[in-house]
């Protein structure tokens, strides 16, 4: 699956997307924390910092670390306050 970064997460990650092997949201976040040091302070054992949000394929916003992910899914990581 792929992770796309938008806004502040992109700024912190330094890239716009990356490929990750993971089956749950929790596994993805663990991978991101390890591979993107700039994001590590925004990822806690409980999940994403409240200032960030995760969305699956542009459809559903997800928070539970147990959220199942399928091959080919695209997880979007963005600032939680998308407007302004």
């Amino acid at each position: 699956m792929y992770v796309e970064f938008l806004g502040i997460p992109r700024e912190r990650a330094g890239i716009s997307e990356m490929e990750v092997e993971a089956e749950t949201l929790g596994e993805v976040l663990g991978e991101l924390s390890a591979r993107c040091p700039g994001l590590s302070d925004l990822i806690t054992p409980d999940g994403l910092h409240p200032s960030l949000a995760a969305n699956l394929n542009g459809d559903e916003f997800v928070r539970s670390l147990d959220t199942r992910l399928a091959e080919g899914d695209r997880l979007l990581i963005l600032s939680a306050d998308a407007g302004g």
Binding site: E4, L6, G7, I8, R10, E11, L42, H49, P50, S51, A53, N55, G58, E60, F61, V62, R63, L76, L78, S79, A80, D81, A82, G83, G84
Partner: protein, 578 residues
């Protein structure tokens, strides 16, 4: 009189050039706080003896600058003021907010609001010096851009004056002209046209009247804590990238209004994104007075800087199909100089472009994607020349003139052009747009926050969406009355409790979070009362035909039926008790 207030407003008839202080009761101040709330109350009081509101551009129509109890306090982002009137663009309630030193200096004139009525005999500068009022000729700043006017008047009057002014568009009565101060604009709804109709080019204020705080030590501690939190992750987006970074996010979600809302994705979004603009234009940051966030991102263009927000970027970029970053920056700069609202400017031009595309308007040069055409249209609007006469009236009136069913795709609600949120893909926001007292606006309903969360399905609104839309509208009304910047909204863990604490420290009132929830509803109801007296009917609480029953072309799942929207609006009214 409570702490934090002067307990009066200054009522000025610019026809006679005289001002008088009018007392404000403690009850009114506590019930409406300040800013938008106090402005709405004063607007109703000004029209108390009339069955209907006067034409917004008539001398009788009041224009109100309302301050707040928090202005002048050390609370971050509190240096803000509201400009309240009926709107010449919509004929309905209008409150537009701006920031910086004018708020502090205006309140230091010894008043909680300034109410302006009448019409000066010639174009004038209204000067309020510690509460003393006089008019001076404005011939030397006639036709000048807002920033130039401020520079000239400070040179004439003294550097300690703070000045709010209109640009050439306000002088010429463009219906979405702004009032500008220190580079910021009270932008929406045409308050600049109202000031222009009173023959006032600028208002210059200075004063020495300071308010005492009820609990200074507690206020200082609260302010320090809030400032500290305002440096954290909750405001990082605004501080580090600015709102313009929304562009690529909205494009990714298919909710970036493009070519007059004919699409939710723009193929040139990357080209005009702040990430790309920064490669060709140096970017610096600035902040309003008394703000620790520093959200303003200023791009170099020639030897000048251009403030660029998401709303300007979408309206003058994707909405007009313009993928040329230089053209977008130049257009934003010209809107600032002329003193016109970028959202209404872009929305009206995009509407005209679609009319040309459909053969309804014989202006073949005005095509989607042409930065030159957009810039030409902006100049015509500012000068009210040629096609600009029509476009200066906004998209709804332009559609009324063009006819042929064009009102179906005029991008407006109650006459106010829709901001950069595609309603079909953000349906809680769609409801917020439909019911907004001043028309479609993202600052009076932040319901998009809910759409970008796991609380709702953004493409399938339900009756549950109504509660979220009401909560968002109430919260915005409260923030606009306290006044605090909405970019702080995610800093608060419990906004109402924290806001009550701030008000207690400033005023000494025993105000609670629950009282503030009631206050917010009262303020929203006051805005509605203005609209009722101005002729509002429930049929106005809707969206243009384009958005109803026709799916978003780039996202067939994003569809909003007329029946559902009407059901949501009816439920909104029911829950409001209206």
């Amino acid at each position: 009189m409570p702490f934090g207030y002067h307990g009066c407003y200054l009522r000025i008839d610019v026809g006679s050039g005289k001002g008088q202080r009018v007392p404000l009761s403690d009850d009114v101040l506590r019930q409406y706080i300040g800013g938008s709330g106090l402005g709405a109350r004063l607007l109703l009081d000004e029209n108390d003896s009339r069955p209907h509101f006067p034409d917004p551009l008539s001398p009788d129509a009041p224009l109100i600058f309302a301050f707040s109890p928090l202005v002048g306090s050390p609370l971050t982002t509190s240096a803000k003021f509201a400009v309240v009137s009926t709107s010449p663009l919509t004929g309905r309630f209008n409150d537009s907010l701006a920031s910086s030193g004018f708020a502090i200096a205006g309140k230091q004139c010894g008043c909680d609001a300034i109410v302006i009525v009448g019409r000066a005999r010639a174009l004038s500068v209204l000067i309020i010096d510690n509460g003393d009022v006089r008019l001076e000729p404005a011939d030397d700043v006639r036709g000048d851009a807002c920033a130039v006017t401020e520079d000239k008047l400070r040179a004439r009057l003294g550097a300690n004056y703070r000045i709010a002014s209109i640009g050439p568009a306000g002088e010429r009565g463009v219906l979405y002209a702004t009032i500008s101060h220190d580079g910021r604009h009270a932008g929406r709804g045409g308050s600049g046209a109202v000031l222009g109709s009173k023959n006032i080019k600028a208002i210059a204020v200075r004063g020495t009247h300071r308010c005492d705080w009820a609990r200074p030590q507690e206020l200082t501690a609260l302010s320090r804590d809030l400032s500290k939190r305002s440096f954290g992750p909750a405001t990082a987006k605004y501080r580090e990238l600015g709102t313009a970074t929304n562009l690529l996010t909205f494009n990714r979600f298919g909710t970036l209004p493009t070519r007059n809302f004919q699409s939710g994705t723009f193929e040139d979004a990357e080209r005009i994104s702040p990430e790309e603009l920064t490669t060709a234009h140096a970017r610096t940051r600035a902040s309003c007075v008394a703000c620790t966030i520093g959200c303003e991102h200023i791009y170099s263009l020639g030897n000048k800087g251009v403030r660029l927000e998401y709303e300007s970027l979408f309206a003058l970029g994707s909405l007009c199909g313009v993928g040329d970053g230089d053209a977008v920056l130049r257009a934003s700069q010209r809107c600032d100089e002329l003193g016109i609202d970028t959202i209404s400017t872009g929305g009206t031009i995009a509407f005209a472009m679609e009319c040309v595309e459909r053969g309804l308007l014989d202006e073949p040069w005005l095509t989607f994607g042409s930065g030159d055409a957009m810039l030409k249209a902006i100049e015509l609007i500012g000068a009210r020349e040629g096609l600009g006469q029509l476009l200066a009236e906004g998209s709804r009136r332009a559609a009324d003139t063009i006819g042929q069913g064009s009102i179906a795709f005029a991008p407006q609600v109650k006459g106010l052009e829709i901001p950069g949120y595609e309603p079909r893909g953000l349906q809680t926001m769609a409801l917020g747009f439909a019911v907004g007292a001043r028309g479609a606006d993202h600052n009076r309903s932040g319901a998009y926050d809910v759409d970008f969360s796991d609380k709702v399905d953004r493409r399938n609104a339900t009756l549950e969406s109504v509660r979220h839309a009401i909560d968002s509208e109430d919260k915005a009304a409260l923030m606009d009355s306290l006044i605090l910047c909405k970019f702080l909204r995610r800093v608060f863990e419990d906004f109402h409790t924290e806001a009550a604490g701030m008000l207690r420290a400033v005023t000494g009132w025993d105000v609670t979070a629950d009282e503030l929830r009631d206050t917010a509803q009262r303020i929203v109801a006051a805005k509605r009362q203005v609209n009722l007296l101005a002729g509002w009917t429930v049929e106005e609480d809707t969206l243009p035909e384009r958005f109803l029953n026709t799916p978003l072309p780039n996202d067939p799942e994003a569809s909003l039926s007329r029946e559902l929207l009407h059901e949501l609006v009816a439920e909104y009214h029911r829950q409001r008790g209206w």
